[in-house]
Assembly symmetry: C2
Homo-oligomer: 216 residues x 2
Amino acid sequence: MREVFQQELQEVQERLVEIASLVAISIENATRAFNESNVSLAERVIADDDKIDELAISLDELAINILARQQPVARDLRIVVSALRISASLERMGDMSEHIAQLARYRFPEKVVPKTLRPTFAEMGQLDVAMARKLAELLRTEDVRLAEEIRNDDDKVDALHLSVFDTVLGEKWKGGAEDTVDATLASRYHERFADHAVSIAKKVQYLATGDWIPVD
Amino acid sequence: MREVFQQELQEVQERLVEIASLVAISIENATRAFNESNVSLAERVIADDDKIDELAISLDELAINILARQQPVARDLRIVVSALRISASLERMGDMSEHIAQLARYRFPEKVVPKTLRPTFAEMGQLDVAMARKLAELLRTEDVRLAEEIRNDDDKVDALHLSVFDTVLGEKWKGGAEDTVDATLASRYHERFADHAVSIAKKVQYLATGDWIPVD
């Protein structure tokens, strides 16, 4: 019974790694679609999000199944409950990529964002991609140094998020209301993406160090 | 054992109703603080959100405890897992109220949003309050007609959300970038608040009708 349970936990872990890897690809494509006003790439991101949603739902079903059949307690129970929460956060990360891609699609053939902000969004996107990749690696290896790196990356994303507001609220800002709306939303989506990554990293870190699993 | 389990489920239900009621108060206060630039009310919303977070964490601990001790299966298991998900959504609804209140606080003593948009935000706020109250009632009574009403309210919130974009992107918009940013974010927070309410209502509806509990 214990051995079956361990195998099932490994299956859960592998599926989480798979979803995190797909999320890394989705935010990479979304950032590019947004910055290059590439509508076909935007549409691919939007279509790919259905796949992420399906995988998350199927993982949740597996986790609930494990709860029902294996009846885990104590730390084992918390691992399975954490997997449910991690899956929900990964699914939301995919939604953030989709939202960024939707901004690119709505404005097409216009450019989504003025040139001045493109380097900022490119950098936010790179950080988000790096965080999602580290998350996949953290989920695979439970190497908690990655959780630390993810937190540091998030600080950088937060700083870039604030700098977007400084730009659009600054005297030099030449963008129209449309640019301001798009920049505000895209920045918010990148920041939320990073927040979810930190929230997942925290859960994995607690699981790996074996103390206590935070519920939030 | 079964009787104890039923009592515990009732405890979970009562706590969900309590949190939903607090969330209704928080969005009501946040909407008023935002529309009237009332900074002390904004600060109360921000402080009250800690209470909502604590209640959600404590409810999650209770649910995990029930899983460990009662080892529910089938529909009972899905009820407890759904409670965990509902608690997470209620906690996020509280965060949306807090974010709206933060917008009011940051801009103080300036007005947050131009007069032209205030009726729209007042209406979004009223709908969000009504939805949160219906949610508390739905959680208490499992009267699924409320779920239907909540979905209808959400359609109205979505329409108002789109109308905010029409306003700030329209030719008559006189607001500066700051107004555009605030309106964009506040509208997004109201819309997300409503989305979470619908997501919870769906789960309760499925639980009440006894078929199948959606995992998303």
